[in-house]
C-alpha cells in the first residue's frame, strides 16, 4: 500500500497525515468524518481516493471509523473568445459550448480541498 501508488494514494496518505495533525491539535479522541470539495476537472478519481483512504485509515485508531463526504463541484467555464459561460459534466477539458474554442477559462471545477473535519472530543 505504501509503495505502489497512483496519485490518489499519495493524496490520501498526505490527507491522513494532515487529519492526524488536526486531531492532535484539537485533542480529539476520534475523527468522525472529513468533508472534501473535489472538482469534476480536478483529475482526482473520487472512488480511488475513497478506496485508498479506507485502506490507510485502518492503520490509525483515531481514524478507523472516519468517513469521507465528497462535495463534487461542477465545471463552470467562460470562453475567452466569445464570452459564453457554460457548465459541463464532462471529465475532460471542455471546449466552448457555443464556438468550440479551447481558449476557455475555468471558473470552478478544479477544486481539491479539505473543507472541514468532524471530530469527537
Amino acid at each position: 500500500m505504501r509503495k505502489k501508488k497512483v496519485h490518489e494514494v499519495s493524496i490520501a496518505l498526505g490527507m491522513v497525515d494532515e487529519l492526524m495533525n488536526i486531531a492532535r491539535n484539537n485533542n480529539a479522541i476520534k475523527i468522525n468524518s472529513v468533508k472534501l470539495k473535489i472538482g469534476r476537472m480536478s483529475g482526482i478519481v473520487t472512488d480511488s481516493l475513497i478506496f485508498a483512504f479506507d485502506a490507510i485509515k485502518l492503520e490509525h485508531s483515531l481514524l478507523s471509523d472516519a468517513e469521507i463526504v465528497i462535495e463534487e463541484v461542477p465545471t463552470v467555464c467562460k470562453c475567452e473568445d466569445c464570452n459564453t459561460s457554460f457548465q459541463t459534466d464532462e471529465m475532460y477539458f471542455p471546449s466552448c459550448s457555443n464556438c468550440n474554442s479551447l481558449h476557455v477559462r475555468i471558473l470552478s471545477g478544479e477544486e481539491q480541498q479539505i473543507e472541514n473535519v468532524e471530530l469527537e472530543i
Partner: protein
C-alpha cells in the same frame, strides 16, 4: 450533551474548518525545495512525458551541447532500475537515480532526499542546472509540484497529435512543450499546426519547441532556455 433522552447523541463533536488543499503536504515540501534551489542559484527543470518520448535522450543531447559551458546535475525518476542514471553518468554528469518502487510519479520529499545525495556526489562543487526526469506518465506527475522553476512536457511525434487535449493538466501546468522525434513527421499523420493550436489554447503562455535528437533540430533553442531562462 444529551445523556437522558435516549437519542444516543451523547458525544461531544466539533467541526473544524480546514479549507486547505488536499496536496498541502507536497506543496509545502515543494516550497521548501524551491527556496533551497533559489539560495543555491540553481535553475531546476522538471521533465515530464509518457514513457518513451525521449526524455533521457533529450538530456543526453543537452549535456553534449552544454557540458563545457554550464554545470549540470540530474535526478532520474523511475519505478525500477538504475538504467537512466547510468546513461547520464556515461555522459560525465552526476546523476542520482530515484526509484519509486511502484509509484507513478515523483514527489517533493523524494526530490529533497535525492538532491542532498547529489550534493554529496559533487563534493561541494556548484551546479547551474538541475534536471529532474520524472517517471514516464502524463497523468500523475502533473499533480505534484517538485519545487522546479520550469516544467517541460515532451510529446513525441509517434504518440499522436491528440495528446494535449487528452492530457490537459500536463499541458496547462507546463511552461515548455517539447515536440520530440520531429524527424518522424513525414511518416505520421501529425498536423503540427493543429497540435500547436490545441496546446496554446489550453495554455497560451506555453513555449513550444520542435526537436529531434536525430537531426539536432531545436536542440539549440532548448539549450538557450537553460542558459538564459525563459524570456
Amino acid at each position: 450533551m444529551c445523556d437522558t433522552c435516549g437519542c444516543g447523541n451523547s458525544k461531544n463533536t466539533k467541526t473544524v474548518d480546514i479549507n486547505q488543499s488536499l496536496l498541502k503536504k507536497n506543496e509545502d515540501a515543494a516550497i521548501r525545495n524551491r527556496k533551497h534551489f533559489d539560495e543555491k542559484g540553481l535553475l531546476v527543470i522538471n521533465l515530464i512525458s509518457s514513457p518513451g518520448s525521449g526524455k533521457t535522450t533529450l538530456l543526453e543531447k543537452t549535456i553534449e551541447k552544454l557540458k563545457e559551458s554550464i554545470s549540470i546535475g540530474v535526478l532520474e525518476g523511475d519505478i525500477e532500475t538504475e538504467l537512466d542514471a547510468e546513461r547520464i553518468r556515461a555522459k560525465g554528469v552526476p546523476a542520482v537515480q530515484l526509484t519509486t518502487g511502484g509509484s507513478c510519479h515523483l514527489e517533493s520529499a523524494l526530490i529533497h532526499k535525492g538532491f542532498h545525495e547529489l550534493e554529496k556526489r559533487i563534493d561541494g562543487n556548484r551546479l547551474d542546472v538541475l534536471f529532474i526526469e520524472n517517471v514516464g506518465n502524463l497523468v500523475c506527475p502533473a499533480f505534484f509540484d517538485l519545487g522546479e522553476h520550469i516544467r517541460a512536457v515532451l510529446i513525441s511525434v509517434p504518440e499522436g497529435p491528440d495528446k494535449p487535449v487528452k492530457y490537459p493538466r500536463a499541458i496547462r501546468t507546463s511552461h515548455v512543450l517539447v515536440i520530440s522525434k520531429s524527424d518522424l513527421l513525414p511518416y505520421f499523420d501529425f498536423n503540427i499546426e493543429q497540435f500547436k493550436k490545441d496546446a496554446l489554447s489550453l495554455n497560451p503562455h506555453l513555449r513550444i519547441i520542435i526537436t529531434s535528437a536525430m537531426t539536432g533540430e531545436g536542440i539549440d533553442e532548448w539549450c538557450e532556455i537553460l542558459k538564459n531562462g525563459l524570456k
